[in-house]
Every structure is written in structure tokens, then in C-alpha cells.
Amino acid sequence: MDTFAALAHGMAVAVQPMNLLYALIGVFLGTAVGVLPGIGPALTVALLLPVTYKLDPGGSLIMFAGIYYGGMYGGSTTAILINTPGESASMATALEGNKMAKAGRGGPALATSAIGSFVAGTIATIGLAFLAPWLVDFAVRFGPEDYFALMCVAFVTVSATFGDSPIRGLTSLFIGLTLGLVGIDKLTGQARLAFGVPELLDGVEVTTLAVGLFAVGEALYVASRRHHSEEKLEPVRGSLWMTKEDWKRSWKPWLRGTMFGFPIGALPAGGAEIPTFLSYSCEKRLTKYPEEFGKGAIEGVAGPEAANNASAAGTLVPLLTLGLPTSATAAMMLAGFQQYGLNPGPLLFAERPDLVWGLIASLFIANCMLLVLNLPLVGLWVRLLAIPQPWLYAGILVFATMGTIAAKPSVVELSMLAGFGVLGFLMRRFDFPIAPVVVGLILGPIAESQLRRALAISLGDPMTLLQSPISATLLALALIALLAPFVLKGLGRFKATED
């Protein structure tokens, strides 16, 4: 089979000593940064992007994969031990995990989440390896109008369909699209929204935006509400290992979580939040110990954690095969590819199979490393959590600005970072989602150039968007996804008045 040959070839790339070292550094850094409270995988990748700047593309992508998976593992440790999920996808883990830690069962909670992440990550990566070539074959047939339609679907699902408020989600998306316009128009060379500032001609850097929104914004937000509550770190007491009973109660939720996570992650449906909560409510319904839910049931950690990791691998399917990021973390990965001038998509599979398959193979290796790194070394990561909050956030801000200072030490770029920080703070305060801004900035310019290319080919006839069956179907899907929340909300209101 083709896939096996390609995967074996990728393995050969991934086990080269230098690449193994990159993977190890990646998972180590990813876990260390991901474990810090308030830092999710997206920010972990964004913060560590400048570190990989000087490496060769192959090695640095392998390092990224390690950082990505490491950040996921680290995030769940934080969620369990201090109940501050760094991202919405580990919210479900925090529900039961933190209760388990409070009841002195933090060790088994960490173990089931680490082993569950390993199981889910491995199965989902196999899924990725087999689904990707198939999708690539399909994607080769895509014309520019189909790509544009696909991006419309991604825009809508990421911002409107699954959030609390479609209006606030779309507002975030359009802020991102606006930022994507800044700079020189690639087709005509005219400057848009640059206001005569030379630094703006290159456009807005994705890392500056992401680090500003996530790191600086988060620090400002936490500082502004410090007087509300003190976070408490739960010490890991008792045995770290899972009992036989724990294993028996964990393995089915792991598999079920994977079944939720991978397909939903692979669809352009926006992130890991939905599968984790689906898995949580599913485990709650199926459990033999319903009385334990809300007090620390191990199923409620095992399922969502597996779903979280499976969907992380799932989001790599549209990212690698179509160049379509559907979560903030995937958007950061895309930024990582772009810093080497690589564009993920069918062409990359054809032109640089060593790179793509090396990356996929190294995901397996990163997963194994993380299992080893997380179970015995969990004490080390827990010590990182004990850093006092003032130093922690001061350190995060230093690290965040350092990336920008290293890449572009200009007053304009640093002011933009601070400005995005304020934007991120206000968006958190007024409950606007952050991820659509990043996705809008990255996908906006690509969608525009695909649309303009499609219209140039059709000599300006907009009907070309509807004449291609793929594009027409996708646009219809986007429209349904856009209208669905409004219709459902209308129904909900109708029901509410009936009560």
C-alpha cells in the first residue's frame, strides 16, 4: 500500500538522530510552557516560533509537532492541578480532574489523562496517515473557486456556528479579516491600510498578533481580576499509578473520546471544544458510577482528554492536505510552515513527501516521548506550577516580547504587540472569542487571492462560484452553518417563552 510505504519513508526521516533530538526538545519545551497556567497549546507554539527560526524546515517542523503535542499534555496537567484550563478544550478535563486532585487522586487523574492522550493521539495519527492521501487525491481537483468556498465554510464554522454568540464570533472574524488586508496587495502592488508607515507594508505578523492577543491579553486580564479569586495548586498526594479499577474504568472512555475527537477535528468544524464536551456528557450518561460525577469521576477525565488529543491530530488533516487551519493552534502551525515559504496542501505532499511524512511519523515518536516524559517526570512539571504568580506572568511577558524583539526589534512592531495585547484584554473582558481573529488574519488574504484568481479565470463572471459543483455545495454548507445558530436561537427563544 502507498500509505505504508510513505509512512515507512517518513519514519526513516524521523528517526535520524538530529530529528529525534528536535522532537525531544520540542516535547520538552512544549510541556514546560504548556504547563504554565493560562498558556494553551496555541500560545505555546506562538511563543516558541522564534526559537525555531534558524533551524532547517524539516527539523523545525518536527520540533513544532513536539511542541504542539507537548502543549496539549502540559495543558491538561494545569487543568487538573489548578483548575485553570489554558484553553477551552481542557475545560471539560478540569471539571472532574480538579475534583479528583482535591480528593487526593491527582496522580491517577494525571495518569489517565496522559495514557488516554497517548492512546487517542496514536489512533488519531494513524487516522491522519490514512485519511490524508485520500483527501489529497480529492483536493487536487479543487480549483480556486472551490478553495474560496472551502475557506468560507471554515470562516463560518470557526466564528459563528459553535460559539456562544454568532454576532460576537463574526465580529472577531471580521477584525481578523481587516488586519489581513494591511500591507501591499500582491496582485497590484498597491498599499492597503498602511497609512504611510513602512513597517505596515509587509502586513501584520501572525506571531505578533497571536502573542499579543493570547499572552499579553491574558496577563492583562488576569491582572485586572486578581482581586476576585486566588488560584490554588492541588498537591499530588498518594500514588501516581492507576489501580486495576482505574484502568477498567478508563479504557472505554479513551476509545470513545477518540471516536468523538478525530472526526470532529478533521472536519473543518473549529477546534476541540465540542468533542470534549460531547465526550464528557456521553461518559456521564454511560457511567456505572453516576454519583461520582461532579465529585471526581475518572471517566470524566479519561474521555475528554482523549477527545482533546484526538481532535488535535484531526485538525492536522485539513491543515496538511488543504492548508486550512480550523483552530488557533492549527493557525499557528500554518504560520510555522509559512515562515519557511512552505504552503501545506496537495502540492506539498507531491513536492516534499519527506517533509510531510517525516512530520506525521514524528507525531508518533513525540507521542511516545510524551508518555515517558509525563508519567515519571510529573513531579518536575508540578514544581513549575508552584512559581509565584507575579514572577510567572512577568516571565511570560518577557518571553512574549522577546519573540518580537528577536524577529523585528522595531518600535512599531512592539507597539503593535502592546496594542494587540489591549485588544485581547478587551475581547476577553467583553467575551469575544479570540481564535477567529487569528484564523481571519491567516485565511483572509488566501481567500481573497483565490477569489480574485477564480474571477480572473472566468473573466469576471461571479457565476463561476456556483457552476463548480464542489464550490456550490460548500457555499451552501457555509450558508446553512451561518444561519443555523440564528434559527436555533429563534427556536430556543420560542421555547423559553412557552415555559
Binding site: P50, V51, Y53, K54, D164, S165, I167, R168, L170, T171, F174, I175, T178, L181, D185, L187, T188, Q190, R192, L193, V216, A219, L220, A223, S224, R225, R226, H227, H228, P388, Q389, P390, W391, Y393, A394, G395, L397, V398, T401, M402, I405, A406, P409, V411, L414, S415, L417, A418, F425, R429, F430, D431, E448, L451, R452, A454, L455, A456, L459, G460
Partner: protein, 165 residues
């Protein structure tokens, strides 16, 4: 915009006009206007299809619609409840960022700039031991500088302190 009236008060009726929401709607409308004005300065040179000015106008229309949507939400008081925010630490961190930018801008170098940010942020989070924090910050930023400069060979801005190393 941080000095919000404390709207987390449960005694208030839930449906009242949210002033911050109206400001947000106004800002979105303003952004849409900026996009249109900027797009009018572009010349369309393409024979077929869209010129560079088409997309900004489309996005401006979207922003205008969203401004209306946010305005309606604000009038109805539909925004999610907010807890009170303490503006002092936010301002402190922003001062720290301003110091960092100023020090880099005037050639003070990486170590001084990041140390200033570290100390102000730490103070914003309630630390009062400025001297101890300054020493920690200096040691940390010197280590980071050395790691980046020697190991990763990335150049960070240099100032008086960096030249001594």
C-alpha cells in the same frame, strides 16, 4: 475603557442599555468607515474580476452589519455579565510595555528593557520587593540574552549592558 460601571450587581435589572457595548458598535462602524476611505484611494487596474479595492469594501459592509448587530445587543442589554475589573494593575503592565518600547527605541538594549517590563509586571501582580525583583530580572534577562546571542545566534538589540558581556 476599563473603568466599567460595576454591572455584575445582581440587584440591577438584567435588560438595560450597555454603554460599553454601544462604544464597541461605534468603534466597529468607525473601522468600516476607515476601510472605505482607504479603499477609495486605490486604483483599480485589473481588466477582469476584482481589483484591490473590492475586498476592503466587502469587509467594511460586514463590519457595518456587525456594528448594527452589536448595537442591538447593547440596547437590549444582551452582553454577558462582567465582573468588576481593577484598572491599576492593567495600567502598570501597560507602563511596563511602554518602558520596554522606549528603552529599545532609544538604544538601551534588551537586558534593561525586559528587566523594566519584568519588574513592573511583577509589581502589578502584587509584589512589593522591587529591589529583589530587579536583581532576578537582570540575571534572567542576561541569561536569555546569552542563550539567544551565543547558542541560537539570533541578534537581540544591544545597549550599554550588552556591550559589557
Amino acid at each position: 475603557m476599563t473603568q466599567d460601571h460595576a454591572s455584575g450587581d445582581p440587584a440591577q435589572p438584567p435588560r438595560r442599555v450597555d454603554r460599553a457595548g454601544i462604544v464597541i458598535a461605534a468603534l466597529l462602524a468607525g473601522l468600516a468607515a476607515v476601510l472605505v476611505v482607504d479603499a477609495r484611494g486605490l486604483s483599480s487596474t485589473t481588466m477582469y474580476g476584482m481589483g484591490p479595492e473590492a475586498m476592503p469594501v466587502v469587509i467594511a459592509c460586514g463590519l457595518a452589519l456587525l456594528a448594527i448587530g452589536n448595537f442591538v445587543d447593547a440596547l437590549r442589554g444582551n452582553l454577558p455579565a462582567r465582573e468588576s475589573a481593577d484598572p491599576v494593575p492593567v495600567v502598570l503592565i501597560l507602563i511596563g510595555l511602554a518602558l520596554l518600547i522606549a528603552i529599545i527605541g532609544f538604544g538601551g538594549g534588551f537586558i534593561l528593557a525586559t528587566s523594566a517590563l519584568f519588574v513592573t509586571t511583577s509589581a502589578a501582580f502584587g509584589r512589593r520587593a522591587i529591589l529583589v525583583d530587579s536583581i532576578i530580572a537582570l540575571v534572567m534577562s542576561i541569561l536569555i540574552y546569552l542563550a539567544f546571542d551565543r547558542l541560537l545566534t539570533l541578534s537581540l538589540p544591544t545597549g550599554p549592558l550588552e556591550r559589557l558581556l
